[in-house]
Assembly symmetry: C2
Homo-oligomer: 202 residues x 2
């Protein structure tokens, strides 16, 4: 039965497609930091800038959920191949801060209350906005507002596009697979009767 | 101001990371089919198997939203490079069925009521379960139950893992960028005190 359960988890987690994997940094009310890897982060809106995170019930990462509700701030830190093993290791059931246990740099920027990951090339500071509960299986969704973004300025295109491949940001699939990416194309805004054309900058 | 708005959309849509892009097939109550590209599909749970889709307010894809609420069934169809231009074209404001306008095959499997995309190498049939409304910006989230999955059997590993790279499934970022992927690694289940090791099948 355990093997059947593992098969099902791998299979269902794979088929929903590639995911935006990142490390989420928080603090609890006593000031202890926490770092956990999440692969269910999604865009909710650009104006105001909002993101969503899925928290499955009874998963290891429940500290992140309770910390966000208690202290209202969190950070999202993209992953590169350099530290993917350390990032994956945050999903173990650690006592105390995963920053120290997994060898990742806990940094603070100006007066933002939640910790960022020093190794990360794209860091986002967020505040808690809203909680949604999925009745079908007890999953929770938290909505956060993007308060600040830290990345190197020359990674931002003239039109606002950030090429995540150039930054080395990984994507994930299934429960444990990490992938690098290669741009196939950027396509023009779609209109009826006009086939989309490439707008890739070479 | 329009250029500032476009910059903001590109920027915020980019930084949330890679997305699981797919075509969603539906029918309205009169039987007219609809096909639309979505990049906000996320895993909600494996048992029961549930997925979520984000619908931003006032976007082109609102037919998909109303069709799912009216007819209760929809399909999720992964994209490959072969037909990414046709898939992107479904986001234009078409009258009538995008299958025909964009040159994609509308197929029906057994008695499943929603249309699948014949070109797609991984097709998922879903039923509507639940609707959540995001108060912060009027966005809607629909939760669906996975009813059936169509893919070639030898794409499924012994442990249930489906290698999306081998299937050619794309990921997207920003508003208009499509990426192929390359496996960096699969990592072992994380435990305190033991560094994760590669479980990649060569």
């Amino acid at each position: 039965m355990a093997s059947e359960d593992r098969f099902r988890k791998n299979f269902i987690n794979s088929i929903t497609g590639f995911k935006s994997v990142a490390l989420i940094g928080t603090k609890n009310e006593s000031g202890t930091s926490n770092l956990a890897i999440f692969s269910q982060i999604f865009h909710v809106g650009a104006n105001p800038p909002l993101i969503g995170i899925v928290f499955r019930p009874n998963v290891v990462a429940r500290h992140t959920f309770s910390n966000i509700l208690a202290t209202k701030y969190f950070t999202i830190n993209h992953l590169t191949e350099d530290f993917v093993n350390k990032a994956h290791h945050t999903s173990a059931r650690w006592e105390g801060s995963e920053f120290q246990h997994c060898g990742l740099s806990e940094i603070y920027l100006e007066d933002f209350p939640a910790p960022f990951v020093g190794e990360s090339q794209l860091q986002i500071g967020c505040s808690f906005k809203e909680r949604l509960d999925v009745q079908s299986n007890g999953t929770h969704i938290l909505i956060g507002a993007i308060e600040r973004v830290n990345l190197i300025e020359n990674a931002i295109g003239e039109d606002g596009f950030v090429d995540l491949q150039q930054l080395g940001t990984l994507t994930s699939a299934g429960l444990d697979a990490y992938y690098a990416t290669e741009l196939v194309d950027r396509l023009s805004y779609a209109k009826p009767g006009h086939k989309p054309t490439s707008i890739k900058k070479s």
